[in-house]
């Protein structure tokens, strides 16, 4: 009895407090000025070159839109698709995410991306380059909005070419000319990697090597694909083996691992995106004028098909259907793509990429696009863009094809057997 009284009194006090809190919550007026928080999954914040820039852009966005707060989630480029798919199926996707290439189509397969057709007004569409939205349609719905364009080009180090006795203003235009140039580089500068090429076993590597396969006439995956057990694919694999056996490539490196070496003049030719300039200058602090004397970029050397190809490696922005703040998310996307601050700090700054806009809002920003590198991309390289057959089949096929490429590059198994093995796995 004596022990019960303090306990009863405690319970009574707790109940009274709960009732008071509940009443205060009901009675309190809703605070309309409280900012909404949207989560933004991206790899820009995960990479040293771009992190300061994206953080600055987010800070300026929040200053311009005090009712919206951005929670940036840094996820590496290699991991982002995997994490987004798992989070979507777990029911906790971010509001907005940066995606690229096959990952965009892969995430769209979950059916959980918000269609953007209703958000893209005629004004918004008119501000973009023609046709730029077409490649982001799945089942006739626009599922991603282009943020930056970053096609790949064939970069050549003029200084190293000159040392090898090659004409620095005349980069190789065909595979045969390329092989001669690589031989000259290897002979005169043994410490230099003649050709920087990503041969890792991942979907991005497949996307990067797709134009090389196409220039040999090979198309192992996709609608109308000829498969992997074809003379064209074998010719491509044979060429890759020749590159490795002659020491012209450094197998097993990701493209990002070649970039700092290129900045130190340790790579003569490199197949990489437009953003390579920004990465190299961030590493070696080379001023623009000196950079353009040192490096040039052109179209892919043509193979037996006689045509050049490239891939569009740009980044897109998506809104997830489960987002509770879609309007705020779209406002943020618009800011990232069109605001002068984002264009200056990120797209044309640290990102060193091309905007999808037909015309830039600021004349000073427009002048930044008038450079030898960007003119080369705009005039010659972008017209050769060919989109790979993105989707789940591309992802699973990429493992089989790139494993086969690695077998060709690093082993001694007959090329015929490798091609057959790739085809067998593609057929499962």
């Amino acid at each position: 009895m004596l022990l019960r009284k303090p306990f009863e009194s405690m319970v009574a006090r707790a109940a009274a407090l709960a009732v008071a809190l509940g009443l205060s919550a009901l009675g309190a007026p809703a605070n309309a000025a409280e900012p909404v928080e949207i989560t933004f999954a991206n790899w820009a914040a995960a990479e040293g070159t771009t992190r300061p820039a994206i953080e600055q852009v987010i800070k300026e966005f929040e200053a311009a839109h005090p009712d919206i707060k951005i929670k940036s989630e840094a996820i590496s480029f290699t991991e982002i698709a995997r994490q987004l798919v798992l989070r979507v199926r777990s029911g906790n996707p971010p509001d907005v995410s940066e995606v690229a290439g096959n990952d965009t189509i892969l995430v769209a397969q979950t059916g959980k991306l918000e269609p953007l057709d209703a958000y893209v007004t005629a004004d918004v569409k008119g501000a973009l380059k023609p046709g730029v939205l077409d490649q982001f349609r799945v089942k006739n719905q626009l599922i991603a909005f282009p943020w930056v364009q970053a096609p790949a080009g064939f970069w050549y180090n003029k200084a190293l070419m000159q040392k090898a006795g090659l004409d620095p203003e005349n980069p190789p235009k065909t595979i045969d000319a390329l092989m001669s140039a690589l031989a000259a580089i290897k002979r005169t500068q043994p410490g230099v990697i003649p050709l920087g090429l990503d041969t890792t076993n991942r979907t991005f590597s497949m996307q990067s090597n797709w134009p090389w396969m196409q220039t040999f006439g090979a198309s192992p995956i996709g609608e109308g694909a000829k498969g992997a057990d074809t003379p064209q694919m074998k010719a491509y694999l044979t060429w890759m083996r020749e590159l490795a056996q002659k020491g012209y490539i450094d197998p097993g490196r990701k493209i990002g691992e070649f970039r700092p070496l290129a900045a130190q003049d340790k790579v003569a030719f490199i197949w990489d995106q437009v953003l390579l300039q920004g990465v190299m200058q961030s590493a070696n602090k080379m001023p623009d004028a000196e950079f353009y004397k040192h490096w040039g970029v052109t179209t892919l050397p043509t193979g037996p098909s006689g045509k050049s190809y490239t891939f569009e490696g740009g980044h897109q922005l998506v809104i997830f259907a489960d987002s509770k703040h879609k309007k705020a998310a779209w406002t943020f996307i618009q800011y990232l793509v069109t605001s002068p601050a984002a264009l200056r700090e990120y797209t044309l700054g640290a990102g060193a990429s091309l905007p999808p806009l037909a015309k830039l809002p600021d004349p000073e920003l427009a002048r930044k696009l008038d450079t030898p590198v960007i003119n080369a991309f705009s005039s010659h390289i972008i017209p050769t863009i060919s989109r790979p057959p993105f989707g789940p089949a591309f992802t699973s096929g990429a493992t089989a094809v790139m494993a086969g490429v690695q077998q060709a590059v690093t082993g001694t198994e007959p090329i015929d057997a490798i091609a057959k093995s790739i085809q067998q796995q593609l057929g499962r």
Binding site: R82, V85, L86, R89, L106, Q109, T110, G111, G191, I193, T200, N201, R202, T203, G247, D250, P251, G252, P392, T395, S396, T399, A403, G404, Q406, Q407, V409, T410, G411, S421, Q424, Q425, R428
Partner: protein
């Protein structure tokens, strides 16, 4: 309960046997003659006290295992909007005809047993070498020998990855400078030597475990046994082979079994160095399951492979339990 009568002359009348006799059987004197005490009536709650642990294990271990077995009989791809559908044994049939599965299984066996055998031998050699020295300097040496075990596995993987670089790696640089090789070797990009190269990294990380285990076992050998052996003029190799190794046998066996199970599941070192490449040269079961589940999102097929993996590991676990019981 009536008190049990002990047989005349048993150790409980005379006291436990000397460390020498028990030790000569390779057992601790404390184990000799120990009897299992049955719970007294009126104390069932002692059995019920394990229930929370069983509950947690059922949720954390049991549920995923059962769910994975259920998934193994279904076609379930995360990228497809359709719900999973039952396909019976189709995933297992596909597995039997999948050449990559068999290659991954072979790679797993080579990686696991090869690494454990070499690490155990190296650990044994090091333990025997430092066994007789107790100076402060040797304590520093012992600490240094244990250092690789303290290094996180990701650091180990990246360390060796950069050491193995064909152009710019320190191993090739040293070998070229010493004139042992004329051209850089593609350690991780040559299908023939990539797996042994990764195994070297694994052995480097695992050897300290065996060194520690076997050093402790060597320290537990009774002095009387060693002195008796010295009296019988046992020296050097005969002391090791006939006296020390029998004492190390059980510890080595149990330690090896544990490490085999651990290595079977070793994903981090392989993924961080080669990602299973070049081709499938270093693709083990765990790497292949990871690619199927988290790159292709084919959870049904990956679960079937996981079920096979589970059965193999259960075999090792049963062998481990049997070994413990026969001690």
């Amino acid at each position: 309960m009536p008190e049990r009568r002990r047989a005349a002359g048993s150790w409980q009348k005379r006291g436990p046997p000397s460390g020498g006799r028990a030790a000569a059987r390779g057992r601790s004197p404390a184990f000799e003659g120990k009897r299992r005490v049955a719970p007294k009536p009126g104390e069932p709650f002692l059995d019920w006290m394990v229930l929370p642990t069983v509950g947690v294990l059922a949720v954390v271990v049991g549920y995923p295992v059962v769910y994975a077995l259920v998934l193994s009989g279904q076609h379930f791809n995360f990228l497809e909007p359709d719900p999973p559908r039952f396909v019976g044994a189709a995933n297992y049939v596909q597995l039997l005809t999948d050449p990559i599965f068999w290659q991954a299984l072979a790679n797993t066996a080579i990686y696991t047993f090869g690494s454990v055998a070499v690490a155990a031998l190296l650990g044994l050699a090091l333990a025997l070498l430092v066994d007789n020295y107790a100076s402060p300097r040797m304590r520093v040496v012992r600490a240094l020998l244990l250092t690789p075990w303290a290094v996180p596995f990701v650091v180990t993987a990246f360390l060796f990855r950069y050491m193995y670089l064909q152009n710019g790696g320190v191993i090739n640089a040293l070998l070229l400078d010493a004139g042992i090789i004329r051209a850089p070797i593609a350690w991780l990009n040559n299908a023939a030597i990539a797996l042994p190269a990764v195994m070297v990294a694994n052995v480097w990380a695992m050897t300290p475990f065996f060194f520690l285990l076997l050093s402790a076992a060597l320290a537990g050998i009774p002095n009387e046994v060693l002195e008796s052996a010295r009296v019988d003029r046992a020296r050097g190799w005969s002391m090791v082979w006939h006296v020390k190794l029998p004492f190390l046998r059980n510890g080595l066996l149990v330690g090896s079994l544990l490490v085999v199970i651990n290595n079977f599941n070793d994903f981090g070192k392989i993924w961080a160095t080669t990602q299973g490449g070049p081709g499938y040269a270093t693709t083990t079961l765990v790497v292949y399951v990871y690619r199927l589940a988290f790159e292709n999102f084919d959870f049904g097929y990956a679960s079937a492979m996981g079920a096979v993996w589970f059965v193999l590991l259960m075999g090792f676990a049963l062998a481990y339990l049997r070994t413990l019981q026969t001690r």
